[in-house]
């Protein structure tokens, strides 16, 4: 991956996982009743099960998968947010469902894009912390699992997580 934390073209595995996740999201959405929400974590675990079944990922493969899945999931969510913003420019968006009437889609998209920007900046400070946050937020991994993937102690992972989270929150508060 390059210094900006982008991995364009570098990783075929990334685009494969990205594609799988998008497909899985579509499949799940078809089955999803209204009111139920689809969580990134659920999607990632579905795709993991599928890939693991197909080719029995080895230990390194598994680690690699979750690091990439966190990235890919983030990318998908950001794409969604951009699309939502584009629609906002075209028309006035209203509440999505009765349950979520307190928050407009446009607001949601803004929040996601702010977070995305802050994560990019974090990646410039520490590649590893950015990846840690992606795995935590977008792939839903526990700190313990993340420590295993990053090959560090749980304590270290926890400390880095606290730093990263405080940074992101400070950034998001500033942009409110």
């Amino acid at each position: 991956m390059d210094e900006n934390g982008r991995s364009d073209g570098l990783d075929e595995a990334f685009s494969e996982i990205y594609g799988e996740l998008k497909q899985q999201a579509r499949r799940s959405l078809r089955k999803l009743p209204h009111g139920a929400t689809l969580t990134p974590t659920a999607l990632v675990s579905e795709v993991y099960l599928k890939l693991n079944q197909a080719r029995h990922l080895d230990v390194t493969g598994r680690r690699h998968f979750f690091a990439l899945a966190g990235r890919a999931m983030r990318q998908i969510i950001v794409d969604q947010a951009r699309a939502a913003q584009a629609r906002k420019r075209g028309g006035d968006l209203k509440a999505i469902t009765l349950q979520n009437s307190h928050m407009s889609l446009a607001q949601t998209a803004d929040e996601v894009l702010d977070l995305d920007q802050a994560l990019d900046d974090l990646g410039r400070l520490s590649e590893r912390q950015r990846s840690l946050v992606e795995m935590k937020f977008f792939a839903g991994l526990s700190i313990e699992s993340i420590a295993e993937i990053l090959e560090c102690s749980t304590r270290t992972a926890h400390r880095e997580w606290e730093r990263a989270r405080a940074y992101l929150l400070a950034r998001l508060k500033a942009s409110q």
């Binding site: 999201a25 969580t39 979520n100 400070l125 937020f137």
Partner: protein, 938 residues
Amino acid sequence: MNEQPSRSDWQRIGELFDRLVDLPPEKRDLAGLDEPPHIVDWVERMLEAADSDDRQLLDHTVQRLAGQLFAAQAEDFDSAVLRGRRFGPWEALDEIGRGGMAVVMHGRRADGRFDKDVAIKVLPAAGTARSRERLVDEIRILALLEHPNIARLIDGGVDEQDTPYLVMEYVEGLPITEYCRRHALALRDRVTLLSQVAEAVGAAHRQLIVHCDIKPSNILVDARGQARLVDFGIAALVSASAVGGAGETALMCSPAYCAPEQLEGRRPAPPQDIYGLGAVLFELLAGERIRDAAEATRLLFHPEQARRPIPSPATFNRAVDRDLAAICLRALDNDPGRRYRSADAFGADLERWSQGRAVHARDGGMAYRWGKWFRRNWLPVSLLALVFMALVSGASLALWQAQEARTAQARAEQELERATAMTDFVTGLFEAARPGLPADRVPSTRDLLLRGAETAETRFADQPGQLARMLTVIGELLTSVGLPGEASEVLDRALEVHERRPDADPGAIARARLVYGESLHYTDRLDEALVQLERAVEALRGQGRPAELARALHAFGFAASNRPRLEEALAAHAEALELQRRLDDPAALALGLSATARTRQRAGEHELAAETYRESIELLRQQEPLDRYSLSVVLSDYGVLLRHMDRLEDAQAAFVESLEISEGIYSGPHVTLGQRWNNYGAVLASLGDRRAAIDAWQRAREILEALEEQGNRTVLAGVANNLGFVLLETGQADRAEAQFERSLELLEATVGRNHGFHVSVSLNLGRCLADQARVDEAEAVFRDALARAIDFYGEDDSRTLSIRAHLGGLRWRHGRDPGGLTMLQAAHDRQVEQAGVNDPASLRLALELAEARLLAEEFPAARELFRRVLSGSRPQLPPGHLQVLRARVGLAEALNGLDQPDRAGEVLDAIEPTMLVDFAASHPLRARLARLDAAFEG
């Protein structure tokens, strides 16, 4: 906002942050830092963020944001195109919501001839043929419904662009949960609100319409507090096969609220709506959903997991009383046949609760009113009812004696009056306590009964015979509601009153002794219990009351089986069963059989015990009405036995059934529930699902710890022992040790050291110390346990042999006694000789022996033993069971030692990585596997 730090700044900021973040804010001396201001500034901002409440919310935020974006993609349709569009005479304004495939627009009549606002439900142009059909169905369904609590159909049709639409009454309101929260409604008002909805659902059901999607967002409450059921978008006609086929609603209902059978794709039926009402009630009471978002999402992929027992709403909100919790849980029963028969019945029970009347939630009707108070610990309600009648007739007898001189006329009048007074007193306890009290503040059973005992002391002060009888009944009730400690105090007093009378009635005293003995047994005061029960049996012999004698004999046998008096115990049960088989009371016989089975099991007669349990369960299942309480108890005991016999799948089935029944009976923490969870944990552990076992045991501990001193300490000791055991298995010997110590401490405070249970826990503690290489301590514990085991069980009992084997193995391993291995071998051989090679205890000892032989590098002998353990365990134990894993790894090591690495590899191939997930990183099995892997690679 200030600029982004550099990479090197970031390193420094991080270090400072780490150092300061755990300090209390006032101790962080930011001003005193010798750092450039932009660094201090960043540290300060991050600390502020870390202190804020938002910290924990951030990752949920991501899940929520993502969820909304996905939802938007699902309903990727911009309702702006509908604005201003005409549907017949109606004009659409703004979107107010979406449901299923449809969009709901706020609207009004374009020509102004109808000045009320309406809601127009319309399909986007992209709607499929099926969704069109659905909308047309909905119009048809709504046309059938006319109810003040259902949003009214106003119009419906197809517009000029061939788009179907329906026009409804516009409900300007909030979802019911939101409404209750905003108005901070009291429980009683929440219940009233939901009973309106139950009426609406009942009205729909009478038209054979099932709503299929009852959930808070489909129940809108307007400003006047009137609830309206909306969105019949996936509703179906019960009888019409053309509408709402099986499986379809499963994909469209909300998994957070819908019934398990609906998720599994069963055809729509009214009980599914009852479940939905129950789920909404749960949320209104508990403030939580029956399933959280993660679980609901998981259920979309794994609907079969929906049958988890739902906890009582009282565990989330202490203001919820047992009755209300019972109503809720009855509606949420996993078995549709055991829910309320109709929405009307559900609503009626809510109504009864609001008025402070007895509810039908538990077993219904008259049976409830009395059964609620007369719930038996192990004997059927009918026997207790007999006691009550005996009490009344006993009263008239005493009266007759006292009033002998009076005329027949006067006597008859008096008799009637006194008898009535007695009845009134008893019923008064139950009935009179309720009116005048708010429904959510009914006194507890305990208070009620203890108050009854006090009242009796004054009311019957001049009639000691009556007083003693009254106290006996109250003591019996206290025992039956799980308060044996309180019961034994009241019964002690009853006996005291009896014995002070010169003309005491021996039958009444025997009765009091019997009940007293039972309550002492339940509080673990065994020696005293046995004395009372023995005297009760003596007194009842030859009194012509075979049913009561049988009960006393069973109680005696049951208590005696806990001491080395098994022969007497078995004889007592046999005599009791003989009496009972001559009486026509199958319910009492069933319970007698179960008590007998338990003692037979203790005597090691497992097959016979299993057969006895089956007979008991069969009899109980045939009872009408079903005595669910007893059935749950017997099933659970049968499960314990099956587990002991290593028939794990059967045991699990018995426990699950028992647990389902129990959760429906108790609405708060109860010692029995704790026991059930404990048993269930045990079978899960044996099946190799250690994580689930730990969960179950923690649940058991929570429940038991919530109940203070109620004679549940032995159960708690059992739970602690079990938790310790699974922790030991998963390689966490230090944590296990604390559990065993706690268990022994509890046992010493209750049953004492001279008890089989104490011996077993000691064996576990010894193993735990041995695992930590604390040889001296382990040896001392084993020796002490061995002496007591010999004393208690005898030389050749499997438990004695097991301790002997462990002691021998320990001494041999640590070079203390070369003969230790022989001792281990001898214990093993003796067990095999007695019980055969495939006996579970034989296999456990074979494994110990095999591991010792392996350590001695006697590979062929070790190989044969490991193979035997594997072949003997395989039919019963799951492949992930520790015994199987240990045997497999050992066999591989032995084969490797015999220079057969290929065959060793094959043996290991059967071990899936998932089987190891529960084991700590330091678990010896992991290290051994790693060594093997290294050996293969080298």
